[in-house]
């Protein structure tokens, strides 16, 4: 029988008999279950909030349709401008939840989930109503106890707790020389023992995760497979770290210290340093400064509009158009205002894009960051998706303005039929699958690269030095 198989089998037997494995599994199951429940609750609340926003739009449209049908007369038209003038159309754009929302709240709470779209509202204010939350900042500061937290932060501790003494156990007990005196290479021992740990630690953890996801959310097999593959890769990385530490540690206590130091470095310190580096290289734009710039721009636009209004002779048309001319003038002001807003906002957009670029790049500095990014993408709660929604909401606003302009040119009023069939609807378009898979592939690649580096360094250590040290 192959030596590797013998080592693996014996290691699995030892693990099964150890009193620590079952409590570790149970602890992980409990944490996963609780995190999934929290995630499901958050997702339900979010879903309800999104539904309420959509209901708001429906109610407004219904109310206006009813006003047209039941209350509007040729004499009281001016009182129902909200219902009949295209310039008062009211829409809501919402960002639907991703396929696995219970996995991670991610960036969902840092970006607006909806937009209020009116033709004449300034484009920089369409998200304002959905930016400020009422969640207790203490809860936000503590961080969401979601599955992503359990996987990114706690799964490594589970794997390390179960494998920190991969070889230091034997070394501490003086079994090392006796084992190495057998015709089995040190690499064979380490890999076979690691394989056993992978089977009994990483494997069940991934199975528990997939089971919990299946139970809490109706996800497709592709998404579940992606979660499983990434989680396995991440778990194997930490197993690799434990094996690497064991190449150096002389005792189990030393190995435990080394493993915890590795966790601290990769999950806490390196990300903190990466964030500091991002702040240094690409600091965030100041929203307060941007707001002041936009307000100053609004003053400028108002002054221009007043000048034009004072200069232009305003004669009332006869007969009066269906839609008052002041709304046409307002449309011109809005268009001019939009140009000024775009010019004012551009430098801040550029600064923020640069920052996001660096943050995306720096996710390669630690497998923990890459894995967090992957989970947020799988949950549909990543920054990219949120920004894509914002771009699409802006585009929808411009579509609505173009439609309004046509109505103004045609002097056409809205009718009940428009409310029944003809209102534009915002539909969020997801990123192309290739783009999404590419990003996930990058994240997986980062984790795999770190694992390969560990394997290479470990192989070098084994080659350079006789394992049973001089």
């Amino acid at each position: 029988m192959n030596a590797a198989f013998i080592v693996m089998r014996t290691e699995a037997l030892r693990m099964a008999r150890g009193r620590w494995l079952l409590p570790l599994w149970l602890a992980f199951i409990a944490l996963c279950a609780y995190a999934a429940w929290e995630g499901a609750t958050w997702s339900t609340q979010r879903g309800a909030a999104l539904a309420a926003i959509q209901d708001e739009q429906r109610e407004v449209h219904q109310m206006r349709r009813n006003q047209i049908v039941n209350e509007l007369t040729p004499d009281n038209k001016s009182r129902y401008g909200g219902a009949i003038y295209a310039t008062a159309m009211s829409f809501r754009a919402t960002l639907p939840q991703g396929e696995l929302p219970v996995l991670s709240a991610g960036r969902a709470e840092g970006y607006p989930m909806a937009a209020k779209i009116f033709p004449f509202v300034a484009s920089n204010t369409i998200f304002d109503d959905y930016m400020a939350g009422m969640e207790n900042p203490a809860v936000m500061a503590a961080g969401r106890f979601d599955l992503a937290f359990v996987l990114v932060w706690l799964l490594p501790l589970l794997v390390l707790a179960g494998s920190f003494d991969l070889w230091s156990f034997e070394r501490e007990r003086g079994m090392e020389p006796w084992l190495l005196a057998q015709p089995v290479s040190p690499a064979c021992y380490l890999l076979a023992k690691a394989a056993a740990r992978a089977l009994l630690l990483v494997g069940p953890a991934v199975l528990v995760l997939v089971a919990v996801l299946c139970f809490t959310v109706a996800a497709g097999p592709a998404a579940l497979l992606q979660v499983a593959v990434l989680s396995t890769l991440y778990g194997l990385f930490w197993l690799g770290l434990a094996a690497f530490v064991n190449l150096f540690a002389q005792s189990a206590a030393q190995a435990a210290l080394g493993c915890v130091a590795g966790w601290l470095a990769l999950v806490v310190l390196v990300p903190a340093l990466a964030l500091g580096l991002a702040d240094l290289l690409a600091p965030p734009s100041s929203p307060a400064e941007r707001t002041n710039a936009l307000r100053a721009m609004a003053m400028q636009a108002r002054a221009e509009a007043r000048q034009q209004a004072d200069g232009a002779a305003r004669s009332e048309r006869v007969p009066a158009p269906n839609i008052p001319d002041n709304l046409r003038r307002r449309a011109l002001e809005v268009e001019r205002g939009e140009q000024l807003i775009r010019a004012a906002v551009q430098p801040y957009r550029t600064q923020d894009e640069r920052r996001l670029y660096w943050m995306a790049l720096l996710r390669a500095s630690s497998p923990a960051i890459a894995f967090q990014d992957a989970l947020e993408r799988l949950a549909g709660a990543d920054a990219g998706r949120a920004l894509r929604f914002q771009d699409q909401a802006h585009a929808f606003l411009l579509d609505v303005r173009r439609l309004t302009q046509r109505y103004l040119e045609q002097d056409r009023l809205l009718t009940a039929a428009d409310y029944d069939h003809g209102m534009p609807r915002f539909v969020h378009r997801e990123a192309p699958p290739a783009e999404r898979l590419g990003a996930l592939g990058f994240d997986a690649g980062v984790i795999a690269l770190f694992l390969l580096v560990l394997l290479a360094a470990g192989a070098r250590r084994l080659r350079r030095q006789t394992f049973h040290t001089e």
Partner: protein, 238 residues
């Protein structure tokens, strides 16, 4: 079977082994005597390939250990001073594991039990977890592995250290059985009297050098003791 040619090993400036020439034939027991730090364990590590020699050569059954340590280890059985077993496994399971690693064929439960009983492990202890074994019992499991492997060369490092007299006598009985089966044995030990009883040849080491070697029966126990003390104090050459 076990040979060294001018084998030397330095650790930095410290010369741990100085030009050792050794030739242990099958059926011979060579007992290496010397104080702590004399270099006895260094020889064993060099023969196992755990250390790379600074100069010279170590050969196991004609195989250069440096060139092919795995092949050399296939022919060797090593018994460390402290035999450690996996406490969660029984004696039987530990033997099955180590025998499997050594490539011993047909490790059926019956054969495993046979080897363990042959090594003196009481039947009642076979299925008990090794965590409860005494040092002597653990050593017997190790001897069972030697029996199972039928190794051509045995390297024993202070095998009777910490054993009670009965266990020590038991061990030496088993050792002689292995010698009679044709194994070449190198045993590092402090136990002068046992060495004289079991050894074919005795070597005295000090400061990494083999001072002298002689047939065990050439000297009485008392003479051996006096010679040892003289050599260790450096008075024998005067």
């Amino acid at each position: 079977m076990l040979r060294t040619h001018a084998l030397s090993k330095n650790f930095g400036a410290h010369r741990a082994l100085d030009g050792l020439d050794l030739d242990i034939a099958p059926g011979e027991i060579f007992c290496m005597l010397g104080a702590n730090g004399a270099g006895k364990t260094t020889i064993i590590k060099l023969l196992l390939g755990f250390l790379k020699p600074t100069s010279g050569q170590a050969l196991v059954d004609g195989i250069d250990v440096r060139a092919d340590p795995a092949a050399a280890r296939r022919r060797l059985f090593y018994l460390p001073e402290q035999v450690a077993l996996y406490g969660e496994l029984s004696g039987l399971e530990n033997l099955r594991y180590f025998a499997g690693l050594a490539g011993v064929p047909d490790c059926t439960p019956q054969r495993l039990r046979g080897w363990l009983e042959q090594a003196g492990v009481p039947p009642a202890a076979l299925d008990r977890r090794a965590g409860s074994y005494s040092k002597g019992m653990r050593q017997k499991v190790a001897i069972a592995l030697a029996i199972a492997r039928s190794a051509r060369g045995l390297l024993l490092d202070e095998p009777t250290s910490g054993l009670d007299p009965a266990a020590s006598a038991e061990f030496h009985r088993l050792l002689l059985e292995q010698r009679d089966a044709g194994a070449a044995v190198l045993m590092a030990t402090h136990d002068l009297f046992r060495a004289r009883e079991v050894a074919t040849t005795i070597g005295l080491m000090r400061d990494g050098r083999l001072l002298r070697s002689f047939k065990a029966q050439e000297l009485s126990a008392r003479e051996l003791e006096q010679l040892y003390l003289d050599e260790m104090s450096g008075a024998a050459g005067n």
